[in-house]
Symmetry: C2
Subunit: 303 residues, 2 copies
């Protein structure tokens, strides 16, 4: 099953150096989740050919402008494109008031319903569950109530052992059941164990989004061993005082979290506009946690 | 004195074909006025190297999203750039509630004061006056309360006749007074008439912004003889029913208004996203009013 993250904006606060502000798209098995929605997100849908009408959920981390000011425009454009499916919008208390006030004052009428889920970011919230995966939110430490999101596959399907499948001449209609763990009984009543027909499934994959947040080891409880961690790294470490003052992290701090949580890969983003060249941030993070990459607008990461 | 209009966005409703939505900048004698502020306006400031901190007034035509959703982001970015001067925001009733609610819910604190002027768009309002020019708003006919803006130079200074100025050896300190119409008395008490020292001033220049509006000859009272008229032309005339239904104009209708008002130049904009090629709209308008141009993002027009 497909599980990937596309960066739509990697800058903080204001656009700079060709970087838009916070927004990204998680595609899990062709189900699309938009995380944060800064001004210009709908332009990024065009730039990167995103099938934005397929987005089922918008997940907002917090109500700062550089994470939500693109949402009204996205809603209007979905409506202009005659969306009819419900859209779920999840975020800290206040998100519904924000959307409804903006729509009311701009006398905008949408072609679809919005289903709100307002949360208290200081606790863990169950956000979404289906047969394949779950999403929870968890507390981040920022200037205003803020939550991260954790996507976790429920299980991975087993992989078929093609040689055995061919040997027992199993029809393809049964592949899905075998992938899910069933044994196979052939026309002579002979039972072939699932273990013989499949390879063990890998660990369930997971993705965590942590932005905006100051350095906070409290999040280790939620993101331990995650496959891909997006952690904000607004500043170089020489500005750690500035980071603390504004509720943000440095590249070193993001890498420390990745190291302590034993994540597989770290993706840093939410860069300050003062940095046109991001290499020093990457190098700083890599000095602590080698498997680090820069978030780049338009790039997709496989979880 | 400089008097020019720069198009920041020429599309209606949503971004398309590289065109942003309604926003433009009027520069009169280095005083900057932003008319409308769709999502992405702050990106256009960067694209076209606009000195946006110098904007003193934001003039909003109406509260539809494609005319105001960029304003919160512009305010935040002005604040991040440490603006300290007051910013004047003028628009129909509701604009203050929109800005204040968005700033409150996003917990945004600006580095400068906003001075609001909320208007009743169904009447003429005095918006701005200084020694050099005036701005009024006037009613447009749209689905929601909407107003156009009319910029008019108070007078043009006379031009100096340099040959005469040299002949009478007039010191440059007196040039401004002579441009304003004073006679000159030399050290022997001899009086030289202003008419001898100057050329007549041209007519005061003027600019009118009409968007969004359906075809409405009522606006002729306000825009008669204007040097440059920006009039929306959302549709081709074959969609005139659609135009009427949505409170918009066709290219032919915009040109008719220009012709009846005997304007010098017509600029059409606010194009429907259905048109990737705008030439047919231009040709349609030119068939009625020859001196028509297309609004193009990034282009500047001298009034």
């Amino acid at each position: 099953m497909n599980f990937q993250v596309t960066i739509l904006g990697s800058n903080s606060a204001k656009p700079a150096h060709g970087r838009f502000m916070s927004s990204q798209l998680v595609n899990f098995n062709e189900k699309l989740f938009l995380i944060d929605c800064a001004e210009g997100t709908q332009f990024r849908f065009q730039d990167f050919k995103i099938k934005f009408l397929k987005i089922s959920h918008v997940l907002i981390s917090h109500l700062h402008g550089d994470h939500i000011f693109g949402l009204p425009g996205v809603l209007l454009t979905m409506s202009l494109n005659n969306r009819s499916e419900d859209l779920h919008i999840c975020g800290p208390f206040g998100i519904q008031d924000f959307i409804e006030t903006v729509l009311r004052l701009s006398q905008s009428h949408l072609s679809f319903n919005i289903i709100y889920k307002e949360t208290n970011p200081s606790i863990v919230n169950n956000i979404y569950v289906d047969n394949n995966f779950t999403i929870i939110s968890f507390p981040l430490k920022h200037r205003i109530p803020t939550q991260g999101y954790f996507f976790r596959e429920k299980y991975s399907e087993k992989k078929l052992n093609k040689i055995k499948i061919d040997q027992y001449e199993i029809p393809y209609q049964f592949f899905d059941r075998i992938k899910k763990g069933e044994d196979w009984t052939n026309s002579q009543g002979e039972k072939i164990s699932n273990a013989e027909l499949t390879f063990e499934n890998p660990n369930p994959r997971s993705y965590a989004y942590c932005s905006d947040t100051e350095y906070d080891e409290g999040i280790l409880n939620y993101i331990q061993g995650v496959d891909l961690l997006y952690h904000e790294a607004t500043f170089m470490h020489e500005l750690s005082n500035q980071a603390l003052k504004t509720g943000h992290s440095t590249a070193i701090q993001a890498a420390n979290i990745a190291k302590l949580a034993k994540v597989k890969k770290l993706l840093i983003g939410h860069f300050s506009s003062r940095y046109s060249n991001l290499k020093p941030l990457l190098e700083e993070a890599k000095s602590v946690f080698i498997n680090t990459e820069l978030a780049v607008d338009g790039c997709t990461h496989i979880v």
